[in-house]
């Protein structure tokens, strides 16, 4: 189960929907696996505003992954400056984090120019880092959902429905 998916899920119990405690679900005894995936720059750009950044940071912390910046990257930080596009002011293109790494992959180059390291890092966290085995625990009711072979089970026993 990818960390992106986890960012879109919360406790299945109706009683937990109205509280902020239920989100994000906290991983327990999680066994991580890196599954390589092709970069989909357009998808990452579109999905970024829909990600709950704070929840993603908490999750990375819980899992012992490298710390994420306090705020989600700006869309302009995802693509390298495109010299043919003067509409983007150059001060918007200053990238946080590392420079000059992993460039030169032709894939996914669109109108926006080459994907930056910021985008690749996001891709790695959201789409390549997966929970293979473990439990997801609701911070409100404490119910634990099992993840087996990367598939989470959100079915509830009848007394919790």
């Amino acid at each position: 189960m990818k960390l992106l998916t986890l960012n879109f899920l919360t406790c299945a119990r109706k009683a937990c929907k109205s509280t902020t405690l239920a989100f994000p679900l906290r991983p327990k005894d999680a066994e991580l696996e890196i599954v390589e995936a092709d970069l989909e720059p357009l998808f990452i750009r579109n999905i970024l505003p829909r990600v709950e950044w704070e929840a993603l940071r908490t999750l990375c912390q819980d899992l012992g992954l490298p710390q994420l910046p306090p705020a989600a990257p700006e869309p302009a930080a995802l693509f390298a400056p495109n010299p043919s596009d003067p509409s983007i002011p150059s001060d918007k293109l200053v990238r946080p984090g590392k420079e000059g790494e992993g460039e030169g992959e032709g894939e996914g180059e669109g109108e926006e120019g080459a994907p930056t390291q910021t985008l690749k890092d996001l891709h790695h966290v959201l789409l390549e880092t997966t929970i293979r085995e473990g439990k997801l625990v609701c911070g409100n009711c404490g119910h634990a959902y099992a993840v087996k072979e990367g598939i989470a089970n959100f079915l509830l026993p009848s007394h919790l429905v």
Partner: protein
């Protein structure tokens, strides 16, 4: 706007127009239907340019190709006259191009000799280039449309080939060649059409709440969308087989779509873990974060229509239920109860209204008994479930013998399109008692009729 001829597949007729309209919307192309008939595989569109025409058709499943319309007529005399009048301006441009002529007769056939005579009758066109049967610069097709049983065509067209469609995907994704399918997997052609009508495209996020073996996810990913799905039946997601395991993931591997497949998880739509699925309250006026939803919900005939919960209310024995102390055990399977089909449709619409982005689409399959549909338009309209935050975009029908299924497509309306009165009326409308303790037949009209052979019970 210039006219173009679309050569349609003569199948799933009621889906064809909906597909073309959806593709035009997706590509932001102005489209006008100048001629369209369910009984004809030829459709004339007015479009801004040949480039727009090629873009429009390149991912269409229910058309074969698009052509620049050079001439049309009701017999060869009028076709030639029209050719002289309308297309002679094109001729000089192709004076030295390699070219070929082909004849496409619908519901009729011509002997090789006659074909040759017909093609030779165009020899007045000043085409001096080489004849080349494969990949010529100019590919002209003479289309003949015969009425059933007639020996003379009722309509004729001449067109220059601009682009072939994406119909080849129908063969690529054929279920017969797919590793992991089940009895209720959606036919590849219709799954792809569903993805087209739902506007699946690169960068978008699509979800299927009844994913099964993942047919819609495969179709959505084929068109570039990132997809995820859930199912109440974990077996369908986990797949089967030991070493050579077949599951949704292996299907994605088979088609090289793994990077667009996000995840499958086990969940029940009525107790969905999806963030925001219940909204703050039941406020459907809030925009969501899904770009599209495609689904074929269970009809309760070949697969059970169930949700989480107990069939009978345990009453005072509630605390003595086995689940209370056993549910954390390995291999515990939560009990499920039958659910009403109508209630499920309501739930899907409510889910879509809350979760879709403005303009996002819900494409959902729904079965109907044919006699119901034949009781006149009014009745037909009534049986289509509606939601104040969703506008009906298209209704496509796939008829079977005694029943048919429909592909209903809705668009999430923008807040200023939604009538606040209708929304508050819906929220206050108390949900019907989708009761406990009722059997599947009571809850599902369609199922009952299906097993009664669609006959009215004798009274």
């Amino acid at each position: 706007m210039p006219q173009y001829l679309v050569r349609l597949a003569q199948t799933h007729e009621s889906f064809r127009k909906a597909e073309l309209e959806a593709l035009a919307e997706l590509a932001g192309i102005d489209i006008r239907f100048d001629f369209y008939d369910e009984d004809s595989p030829f459709c004339i569109l007015a479009l801004p340019s040949p480039t727009a025409a090629a873009i429009l058709i390149h991912r269409s499943i229910l058309s074969l190709s698009i052509h620049e319309l050079w001439a049309q007529g009701t017999d060869y005399a009028t076709l030639h006259a029209s050719n002289h009048a309308a297309s002679s301006i094109f001729w000089p441009h192709y004076a030295t191009s390699s070219f070929r002529f082909t004849l496409d007769s619908y519901r009729g056939s011509r002997s090789t000799a006659t074909q040759r005579t017909i093609i030779d009758s165009f020899s007045y066109m000043p085409l001096n280039g080489r004849i080349k049967m494969s990949n010529p610069d100019l590919s002209l097709t003479i289309f003949e449309d015969f009425a059933t049983g007639s020996h003379e065509p009722r309509a004729l067209y001449l067109g220059r080939l601009l682009s072939l469609s994406g119909r080849i995907a129908k063969t690529t994704y054929d279920l017969k060649k797919r590793a992991y399918i089940s009895t209720t997997s959606m036919d590849a052609e219709l799954a792809l059409v569903t993805a087209n009508v739902a506007l699946a495209a690169p960068g978008k996020l699509f979800y299927d709440p009844f994913s099964g073996t993942g047919g819609f996810m495969v179709a959505g990913a084929h068109f570039g969308a990132s997809v995820w799905g859930s199912d109440i039946d974990g077996r369908s997601i986990r797949g089967k087989g030991g070493k050579a395991k077949k599951d949704v993931v292996s299907n994605m591997v088979q088609y090289g779509l793994t990077s667009r497949y996000l995840d499958g998880f086990i969940a029940d739509l009525t107790n969905s873990p999806i963030r925001g699925a219940r909204g703050p309250g039941e406020d459907a006026a809030r925009g969501g974060w899904l770009d599209g939803i495609m689904c074929d919900p269970p009809y309760g005939v070949r697969e059970g229509l169930k949700v989480l919960g107990l069939k009978r209310d345990p009453g005072e024995n509630r605390e003595r239920l086995a689940c209370v102390d056993r549910y954390m055990e390995e291999g515990y399977i939560p009990p499920k109860r039958p659910y009403s089909f109508e209630a499920m449709l309501e739930d899907i619409l409510q889910f879509a209204a809350v979760m879709l982005v403005v303009g996002g689409r819900l494409s959902m399959w729904m079965p109907t008994a044919n006699e119901e549909a034949e009781n006149g338009e009014e009745q037909k309209e009534l049986s289509i479930p509606m939601h104040p935050a969703l506008g009906l975009v298209s209704v496509c029908v796939q008829p079977f013998n005694k029943w048919s299924r429909r592909l209903l497509t809705y668009r999430r309306l923008s807040p200023d399109e939604i009538s606040p009165e209708a929304l508050s009326a819906m929220v206050s409308h108390k949900k019907r008692a989708h009761g406990n303790g009722q059997n599947a037949d009571d809850l599902n009209d369609f199922r009952r009729k299906y097993f009664q052979g669609f006959k009215e019970p004798e009274t």
